[in-house]
């Protein structure tokens, strides 16, 4: 019974690996086959995830505004996203005359590639991870800092003033909010003493950092969620798109599947940010444990680790989606003030507090 309930994807992965090892003797061919399988599985997963998040976003938005949301196509409107995708597939993917053709067509590819690269080191369940890199946190933050280049490229190469303004805003926004994200991640790295996502999850076996780390970690968590909402250009920090003033910002000129790639990259980024927040602060796939209460911990262990991971991730996605319909959009000067005058000084002092806590051993 225990084995069935605490089933993790890792045993399935091991089975497939052993089976392939028997079937394919050539080592290089084996590696390539496994890489292809992992890649295809990941892409299918992310497309399904983007469908789900698109549906979820509409429903969350609708219920916050006392509407019903999509409710015509399929049961409870679940097939609405499929219909939208088919619509986007049939649209003409034109390139404007004034555009720099080469860069205009390259930009969606760059944006989706950077989004996909950041997915690699995330631990989805116990022992189930694509790439166990020993600098996981640094890798994710470095790769996601490349996303801004895709946006700058898209905005500039469209040959449209609105797009260019959107791209300029994104440059200022993403580069400055990266600092707070880095500092709030460092506070947990200080407590754990490792940059590896696996080590960080393991260190939360006797309690998640948000509980173990007292108020400083809670502050770091709030700063991380706010700053990463800005980093992925979601409302109330969506000045880059700003429909009312910039008619769509950097993606004004894109249509059809090129636009769909921007949309998908946005949802993948949302997932990555929430997954990182869940892993770093809420224990990733680690069940909810209270130190000393063995009976309670035992019951929690029965829930599979993947459900813990996805539950926490979806919870944070839900919070970020609620931001969108709660706060009005910031002005560019308010946006920069928030980062440079409030978030950055607070997170700098916070890192000092966390370091003091780690040295004195005040955390549990």
């Amino acid at each position: 019974m225990k084995t069935l309930l605490s089933y993790s994807f890792s045993s399935l992965a091991t089975h497939i690996h052993n089976w392939l090892k028997n079937a394919i003797t050539n080592d290089m061919l084996l590696t390539v086959t496994e890489m292809v399988i992992v890649g295809v599985c990941l892409l299918v997963f992310l497309i399904l995830l983007a469908f789900f998040l698109g549906y979820m976003e509409r429903k969350v938005a609708a219920f916050m505004e006392l509407r019903l949301g999509p409710n015509r196509v399929g049961p409870k409107g679940t097939l609405q996203i499929i219909a939208d995708t088919v619509k986007l597939l049939f649209k003409e993917g034109f390139t404007p005359d004034a555009a720099d053709k080469f860069l205009f067509n390259l930009a969606p590819g760059i944006i989706i590639t950077t989004a996909l690269l950041a997915v690699a080191p995330i631990a989805y369940a116990k022992g189930f991870q694509i790439w166990d890199i020993n600098i996981g946190v640094l890798y994710i933050s470095s790769v996601s800092s490349m996303a801004v280049i895709g946006i700058l490229m898209a905005g500039w190469s469209s040959g449209n003033k609105y797009s260019l303004i959107g791209a300029m805003r994104s440059g200022a926004q993403i580069v400055s909010y990266e600092l707070s994200i880095g500092l709030s991640l460092i506070s947990i790295v200080v407590l754990t003493g490792s940059l590896s996502l696996n080590d960080i999850v393991e260190s939360q076996a006797n309690g998640w950092w948000i509980f173990k780390g007292h108020i400083p970690v809670a502050i770091a968590f709030v700063i991380f969620v706010v700053a990463s909402t800005a980093e992925i250009n979601r409302a109330p920090f969506d000045l880059v798109e700003a429909d009312q003033e910039l008619t769509g910002g950097f993606n004004t000129e894109y249509a059809g599947m090129k636009f769909a790639m921007f949309l998908m990259a946005e949802y993948i980024n949302l997932f990555v940010v929430s997954a990182v927040a869940a892993t770093i602060f809420l224990g990733g796939w680690m069940p909810f444990h209270i130190g000393g209460m063995t009976g309670f911990n035992h019951i929690m262990d029965y829930i599979p680790s993947s459900i813990w991971f996805f539950g926490k991730t979806l919870f944070i996605i839900f919070i970020i989606m609620q931001f969108r319909w709660t706060f009005p959009r910031l002005r560019i000067d308010q946006l920069l003030n928030l980062e440079w005058k409030y978030l950055l000084p607070i997170s700098m002092v916070n890192v000092l507090l966390v370091t003091l806590m780690a040295i004195m051993g005040w955390h549990f």
């Binding site: 290089m28 720099d100 080469f102 860069l103 390259l106 890199i133 020993n134 600098i135 640094l138 890798y139 933050s141 470095s142 790769v143 800092s145 490349m146 801004v148 280049i149 700058l152 490229m153 500039w156 190469s157 040959g159 260019l164 791209a167 300029m168 440059g171 580069v175 990266e178 940059l195």
Partner: protein
Amino acid sequence: MSASQIIFYIIAAVIIGGGILAVTSRKIFRAAIYLLFSLLGIASLYFYLNYEFIAAVQIVVYVGGIVVLIIFSVFLTHASGDEMQKPVLWRALFSGLAAVFATALTLLYITEHTFIPTANAAVAPSVKNIGLQMLSTTQYGYILPFEVVSMLLLAALVGCIVIAIKIKTKE
């Protein structure tokens, strides 16, 4: 040729190709993007050598920082989309010669130099070892260069603020 070698040559081709295109492209924004590919190629070379920390730092500093700044300053120039005029022939010639001689000099040094293998065991390039070595005050520690570089950065920051500051004139 093994798979590892094939990957190495692909990375090398991206680095060199990106570098050449960055210099020869006559559209300034495209040149910045080609430079980006060249720098990313160097980062992937570090990944190929399993120096993951250095690779991530390369991406953070060069791709996420310097290329973004270059693109930003390209945005602020006039007519960033137009083709620039062709460089004067003798200027292009001498720049080419300078590049060739610099490459020849580097190659000469690499081939002439005899690399002395050390008797010490190799140290794993982990983040912990790099950090300890960087802030170590022992004989081979890097604390002094580290602090000197931070002073340089501080001076640059102060300089930026002095340039950007607006002094309110009394009316």
